[in-house]
């Protein structure tokens, strides 16, 4: 999404992003000051900022982040291997696509959080459970987007490659797979925030003190000060944002032709 054109200096990009962020912060501050809701419930931007700075070096919070991110990273890795592999396989055959459509739709439409109580019961509340939760959610966007990418390859390009006498395998490696990469990446980028979301959901459902979700839950119960809760949420958002930015950077490197039309 953050496509940067080569001609634009980094400082300018950063400046625009900061202006956009400042506008959102200002909007929030106006709402908070307007007194629509109790002032104590909506802490002011500077107060949240102070808490963010404190939490960012708090070993307790950092440990929670590490715990959650382990499950997210493991889950995403498994999802990508399974999703891209499965997507390429399914995309290759229209029969396979049609046969697996109904079961995939059924599994995919199961709201992921519905499985959390079930997995809590059977796998406990550790990293293993969270990893499984992440896979159950993150594999579908990758799988579906990869399949879609393979199936929507330009027929003319394939025919052209064939008519040049390229073997099936080389048509695949040279035409089909590269055209499916942007779609697979899109799937991964959809899966990324979902993975973080469900990992945190599972921590909150479990009621355990581990992970970011556990940290937020603990903080929101402990005292009536809303600022640390907001700060933890903001930091969780920053982590998600950094992950997205990294994925976007990867996308620009892998498929530089996308989005530079």
């Amino acid at each position: 999404m953050t496509v940067r054109h080569r001609s634009e200096p980094r400082a300018l990009v950063l400046w625009r992003g900061l202006v956009g962020a400042a506008a959102v912060a200002a909007l929030y501050q106006v709402v908070a000051l307007a007194g629509i809701v109790d002032r104590r419930l909506l802490p002011a931007v500077p107060a949240i900022g102070r808490e963010v700075a404190r939490l960012a070096v708090d070993p307790d919070f950092l440990g929670a982040v590490g715990n959650t991110m382990t499950a997210v990273a493991l889950g995403l890795l498994i999802s990508c291997v399974a999703g891209i592999g499965g997507g390429l396989g399914l995309g290759a055959s229209s029969l396979a696509t049609r046969m697996t459509r109904a079961p995939i739709d059924v599994l995919r439409s199961l709201p992921s959080v519905a499985l959390i109580p079930l997995l809590l019961m059977t796998l406990g509340d550790g990293v293993r459970m969270k990893t499984v939760v992440v896979v159950v959610v993150a594999v579908w966007p990758v799988l579906l987007n990869t399949t879609y990418g393979v199936r929507s390859v330009d027929g003319v390009a394939v025919d052209a490659a064939r008519s040049f006498g390229l073997s099936r395998l080389r048509v695949w490696a040279g035409v089909v797979v590269p055209s499916a990469v942007p779609a697979a990446l899109t799937g991964f980028r959809i899966a990324l925030p979902m993975a973080l979301t469900v990992a945190i959901s599972s921590e909150m459902a479990a009621g355990t003190p581990s992970g970011i979700g556990g940290f937020i839950l603990r903080t929101s119960y402990r005292d009536f000060d809303a600022a640390p809760v907001f700060a933890a949420v903001v930091l969780a958002g920053l982590i998600g944002w950094a992950l997205n930015a990294a994925a976007a950077g990867l996308g620009n490197r892998l498929v530089p032709w996308e989005g530079r039309r």
Binding site: A114, T122, T197
Partner: protein, 272 residues
């Protein structure tokens, strides 16, 4: 002869479509009967329990029970209301913000940041600010549903052929009409894809929002049965949520196919 061949073809199509589902269900039944694990009841038992809980009502009530009215109906209503609200906001903001290439640098960072906020982490915030009521639940669902739609609308609007836009401007078509006649139709398939993702998200957020402080809804039923170790009830709730998700998705796809039929003929590419 041709009738025979026709039914043969229909049967084949049916096998292709549902064969794997039936096979997997059968496998599940066999495995759970074999395993005799209290955490894994057989699908047949789950189906019977679902019927008992929700579908054994009198004919006058369309066969649904009182439990259906307290568990399922409010949940679906919340999910759909939040989804519709979030979808509308996402499309509107996406069309406007996607129209100007210059805005990208300002819009994308905040959008990406807010989109990255883990939604369950926001539940306490929404609870604190809006209180534990349906307004908070619908607001939470809407908040979550905005982002996939917004992101897809933004990207699709930015990818609209510049020629189309310039033509619109050259012919002096007003901006609102340009949105309605150029950007919206061009972005429609991607918007639909975003709406579909959001529909799944709406159900997830619905369950999340019902985990705290409510006596109604499937999410509440699910967590209550887990905490009281009613394993069969819990599985029934999971299956019900899956069924709802599947039916909603099916309904959405049917609608999408109808509404976007023109797009297939227009661009020659089938929908995802």
């Amino acid at each position: 002869m041709s009738l025979l061949r026709l039914t043969g073809r229909a049967a084949r199509a049916l096998v292709v479509k549902l064969g794997l589902v039936v096979a997997l269900l059968a496998l599940w039944q066999v495995l759970t009967v074999e395993a005799q694990n209290i955490f894994f009841p057989t699908p047949a038992d789950i189906a019977v329990r679902m019927r008992e809980l929700w579908f054994s009502g009198p004919a006058a009530h369309l066969f649904v029970t009182g439990g259906f009215t307290t568990d399922v109906v409010p949940s679906v209503a919340r999910a759909l209301a939040g989804w519709a609200l979030g979808g509308l906001v996402g499309i509107a903001v996406g069309l406007v913000a996607g129209r100007w290439a210059r805005a990208q640098g300002y819009v994308d960072p905040p959008v990406n940041f807010i989109r990255s906020l883990p939604k369950p982490a926001i539940v306490p915030l929404f609870l604190i600010v809006l209180g534990a009521n349906d307004r908070m639940r619908i607001a939470l669902i809407a908040f979550g549903c905005i982002w996939p739609v917004l992101l897809n609308t933004l990207q699709a609007t930015r990818a609209v052929e510049p020629t189309l836009r310039d033509t619109g401007t050259a012919f002096g078509i007003s901006l609102p009409r340009q949105f309605a006649m150029i950007s919206l139709p061009a972005a429609a398939p991607r918007i639909a894809a975003g709406l579909r993702v959001s529909l799944g998200l709406a159900l997830i957020l619905m369950v999340l929002s019902e985990w705290s402080l409510t006596q109604h809804g499937l999410g509440n039923f699910l967590l209550t049965s887990q905490r009281s170790y009613q394993v069969l009830d819990m599985w029934a709730a999971v299956a019900m949520l899956g069924l709802l998700g599947y039916l909603l998705n099916l309904a959405f796809l049917a609608l999408e196919k109808r509404l976007l039929a023109w797009h297939v003929g227009f661009t020659g590419t089938p929908l995802p």
